[in-house]
């Protein structure tokens, strides 16, 4: 841990910008949880000591420039195809640690086929899925995860299930696939939940490092700007509405399953 001297006193720095981030300030809007998510991912990577084994896949969305913020090898890929690209890279370099960073439009709309099939194949990659219930980058259009009644630039009267369907729950959809090793949904709305999110992300990388299969962490995030609220109102909305529609929790945990299986074996045996 870094130690600095301030006004004659020695201090250790107990919180600062993690090493796996570059020095470039985030270009996200003030209060945007993309930043928070970047930060905890980088902390996890620092803690696991895998910075130089990581290959990041930047998807198209507000995080399109994530490759400028994370300090390891990166590729920026077509909208929705991050998990296909990750598959190709991981199969060629099984020792690399593959991370995709994707928004809800990217992962659940245009890229849902790639998402489901990568998970079903049990690709050893880690997917960070930032669900902010909207298309941030393009200016606030409806996402597959937009809540019912929510107004967006393409659902100006609020999302109406009969016309345009229901918010899609990706964690619930993927968890039953046998290729999934770890699937969790976390939230960014306060410090406690951010810490939980970090723990989940660490587990997701561990699933990859231990060759268990596909891992995904769905991160409920704000997009104040396109929700037309302040950052504080934004995280409040995440807490009050997003988590109600998208229940937090671990949807698949291969270690728990293995334990349970062993238990059953023992009981049987």
């Amino acid at each position: 841990m870094d130690v600095v001297t301030i006004e004659g006193n020695e201090y250790k720095v107990v919180a600062q910008r993690p090493k796996s981030l570059t020095d470039k300030p985030f270009t996200y809007c003030p209060g945007c949880n993309h930043g928070t998510t970047h930060k905890i991912i980088a902390e996890v990577i620092d803690e696991l000591g895998i910075q130089h084994r990581c290959i990041g896949i930047a998807s198209v969305g507000c995080s399109v420039f994530s490759y400028e913020f994370f300090d390891f090898d990166f590729i920026s890929v077509p909208h929705g195809r991050a998990l296909a690209v990750a598959t190709g890279a991981k199969r060629m370099r099984p020792n690399s640690v593959l991370m995709t960073y994707q928004g809800d439009g990217d992962l659940a709309a245009i890229g849902i086929a790639e998402t489901i099939h990568a998970c079903n194949r049990g690709e050893r990659v880690t997917c960070i899925f930032v669900n902010n219930a909207i298309y941030g980058m393009t200016g606030g259009q409806m996402a597959p995860t937009t809540l019912l009644g929510m107004k967006t630039t393409t659902s100006p009267l609020g999302r109406d299930a009969k016309r345009i369907g229901w918010p899609i729950k990706m964690s619930e959809m993927l968890a039953p696939l046998p290729g999934a090793a770890y699937i969790a949904r976390v939230s960014m709305h306060d410090a406690k939940h951010i810490l939980k999110a970090k723990a989940a992300i660490k587990k997701a990388f561990r699933a990859q490092l231990e060759d268990k299969g596909f891992s995904m962490v769905e991160v409920l995030s704000n997009c104040n700007v396109n929700w037309h609220v302040t950052p504080q109102e934004g995280v409040k909305f995440v807490e009050e509405h997003m988590t109600k529609n998208f229940p937090l929790g671990v949807y698949k945990d291969v270690w728990e399953d293995e334990k349970a299986a062993k238990q059953t074996d023992k009981e049987k045996g």
Binding site: V13, V14, Q16, L21, P25, Y28, C32, G35, D190, A191
Partner: protein, 76 residues
């Protein structure tokens, strides 16, 4: 005594850290514009109440808060 530092030019004035601090040590003073043209928050802790709990830093989307804890002097 623990303390924090707001990196003025990194801070975007989102104000998320303010409610995060249990001791209300961070304030939206709008005292200065940073080089992005935004108002960074200010850390005001005359009584040294900061516990170094890092909650402010955890919620900061822009990693604009450094948290320091004094190094325990070995039997000085």
């Amino acid at each position: 005594m623990p303390m924090i530092e707001i990196l003025d030019d990194t801070c975007k004035g989102c104000l998320l850290c303010i409610p995060a601090c249990p001791h209300e040590l961070i304030h939206n003073t709008k005292a200065k514009l940073n080089k992005r043209g935004l108002y960074p928050v200010e850390y005001v802790d005359p009584d040294g109440k900061c516990t170094g709990c890092r909650l402010c830093s955890i919620v900061c989307p822009d990693a604009a808060i450094r948290v320091y804890k004094e190094v325990k002097k070995k039997s000085a």
